[in-house]
């Protein structure tokens, strides 16, 4: 150092610096093969860069090869926690395009199963959320209730996760004989458990301190990033497709769209907890009066959509799922695009996670409720 400037050996040898760590593709907190490149200063996050594509299966491209009946089962594999709702989105699109009017029975059964799916998805999320902030027991409790829903699914259509129960024109089969009984038994079992969940996690002082005021997502950036679902409603923006563009039997049930104003991690948590109550409310209205009717409308053996563009949106457990089809009149679509909720919800991560610590970051990605196959498709 002969330049005449003061030489500071500490500055020279022991300077602090930001560094990068890879969270994922294999990491317990990313719930799948999501890779997040974190730039960190000590424990504080300076930048988050999501790296996608580890589970890309080109579902949209496969859809261009398959016929319309076959497309339905592929959507199971996108957001596997709300597979029934995904199936329904495609079926609704085909039905609307072909102007098939499904019977009330189909609509009601679809809605009940939608809400069961939503509860099951939120239950899994709740268990995993607890696990992410360190309370490992919540996972088993959440799964215990989820198991009952899965049993109902399994009895209804033979599969627990990849249901493929919706087909264009209705349902693959009628519901099984014990469906109403089992669903009621589940509701009876589940209602007191919600209070237990609140005792165990929601009211817990450590959990409150870990989540309140963390990862605040403002209304403006929520809208700007196209965030949907409970994540958006946690910031106080109305975006519930069930209310705004009712499909199936949602126009005949009354339920509340849950809002929170804060937009922080705890608000997003609360939205989901309260949505479960609303789902119970919806199911209770429908379960006792499932109308009689056909469960499957007659469709052509080979479904061909008329030429044109079609769009259908539904509210999955994670947000708005949009299905967009360009048809050239052939038996498979010319172009199929899924607007998946997880992708837009993930894009907001850099906005809300910067400045928080690693521990909070885990809680934040947990309340975004990401399903990685839904992001990558």
């Amino acid at each position: 150092m002969r330049t005449g400037t003061l030489f500071d050996p500490i500055e020279q040898d022991l300077h602090t610096d930001e560094y990068k760590i890879n969270m994922g593709p294999q990491h317990p907190a990313t719930h799948g093969v999501l890779r997040l490149i974190l730039t960190i200063d000590g424990e504080v996050i300076k930048n988050v860069e999501p790296d996608l594509g580890y589970i890309h299966r080109s579902i949209e491209k496969i859809c261009e090869r398959d016929n319309y009946r076959q497309i339905v089962h592929l959507t199971d594999r996108m957001d596997y926690l709300s597979s029934h709702i995904n199936n329904e989105a495609v079926c609704l699109l085909i039905e609307n395009a072909l102007e098939i009017e499904v019977s009330d029975r189909v609509k009601v059964i679809r809605t009940i199963l939608d809400e069961l799916t939503r509860i099951s998805s939120h239950l899994l999320w709740w268990g995993v959320m607890g696990m992410d902030v360190g309370a490992l027991t919540t996972f088993m409790y959440g799964f215990r209730e989820r198991e009952m829903i899965n049993d109902i699914f399994e009895n209804t259509c033979g599969a627990r996760l990849t249901m493929n129960y919706n087909v264009p024109g209705g349902l693959m089969w009628d519901i099984y004989s014990g469906f109403v009984r089992d669903t009621k038994a589940f509701l009876k079992h589940f209602k007191p458990k919600l209070k237990e969940y609140n005792d165990l996690l929601t009211d817990n002082i450590i959990f409150r301190k870990r989540t309140e005021g963390i990862g605040v997502l403002s209304k403006e950036s929520a809208i700007a990033y196209g965030v949907t679902g409970p994540t958006m409603r946690g910031s106080g923006v109305s975006c519930d497709i069930r209310k705004l563009f009712p499909y199936s039997a949602y126009d005949r049930v009354e339920f509340e769209e849950i809002f929170m104003q804060g937009g922080d991690t705890f608000d997003r948590y609360l939205v989901r907890m309260k949505e479960m109550e609303q789902s119970i409310h919806i199911i209770e209205q429908l379960i006792d009066n499932i109308p009689e009717g056909e469960t499957l409308e007659k469709t052509r053996a080979v479904i061909k959509l008329p030429k044109g563009e079609f769009y259908q949106r539904v509210e999955t457990a994670r947000g708005e799922l949009g299905v967009y089809v360009i048809s050239d009149g052939k038996k498979s679509p010319y172009r199929m695009k899924f607007r998946s909720p997880g992708f837009s919800n993930l894009s907001v991560i850099n906005e809300i996670a910067v400045g928080h610590k690693i521990g909070d970051f885990v809680a934040i990605i947990s309340t975004l409720d990401l399903v990685i196959p839904d992001i990558d498709r």
């Binding site: 398959d66 009946r69 076959q70 089962h73 592929l74 199971d76 594999r77 027991t137 088993m140 215990r144 198991e147 049993d151 399994e154 009895n155 209804t156 259509c157 033979g158 599969a159 990849t162 493929n164 087909v167 693959m172 089969w173 099984y176 237990e196 005792d199 165990l200 996690l201 009211d203 817990n204 002082i205 450590i206 409150r208």
Partner: protein, 158 residues
């Protein structure tokens, strides 16, 4: 006095949480939800509609109901069904008719979507309740569903 009331409130919430888990701990005998899987294999019950692997039921005379119409092959999204068929001379009527030689099922590609079962006009194939489908070799995942020497059940085609 917010300092001390915070502490007391905090402790109260912690104790409520401990009450919940404690309740389960002391009732552990009744509340267990897990199953001891390989032990209870014999007593496992399946829903009627359970989707295991695809199979073709045969009756006691080694007859099946598959006419070789290939509806399942077309319906399958993954190409897991392959049908090798031929026209065979029917000695009674003297006409040549389509009959399957091999109904090949690739379990490795199957997603258990049930579309082939729905598509089959003669209910020739069903979903079994078999669920332990892992194999050590990929070739073990290819099945020929019709048994050797089997033929079409009479009266299916009408």
């Amino acid at each position: 006095m917010g300092y001390f009331s915070d502490i007391i409130h905090g402790f109260k919430t912690l104790l409520t949480g401990m009450k919940v888990t404690g309740k389960y701990f002391f009732n552990a005998r009744k509340e267990i939800i897990t199953q001891q899987y390989p032990d209870n294999r014999d007593t496992l019950t399946f829903p009627e509609r359970f989707r295991g692997r695809v199979d073709m039921p045969h009756n006691e005379n080694n007859e099946h109901r598959c006419t070789g119409c290939q509806a399942c092959e077309i319906a399958c999204p993954n190409g897991s069904i392959e049908i090798i068929w031929d026209r065979v001379l029917n000695p009674e009527t003297g006409k040549k008719k389509k009959a399957i030689e091999k109904h090949i099922y690739h379990l490795s590609m199957c997603t258990m979507c049930n579309l082939c079962i729905v598509a089959c006009p003669t209910d020739a194939i069903v979903m079994t309740h078999e669920f332990e489908l892992a194999a050590y070799d990929r070739s073990d995942l290819t099945f020929v569903l019709n048994k050797p020497g089997s033929k079409l059940m009479a009266g299916v085609e009408e």
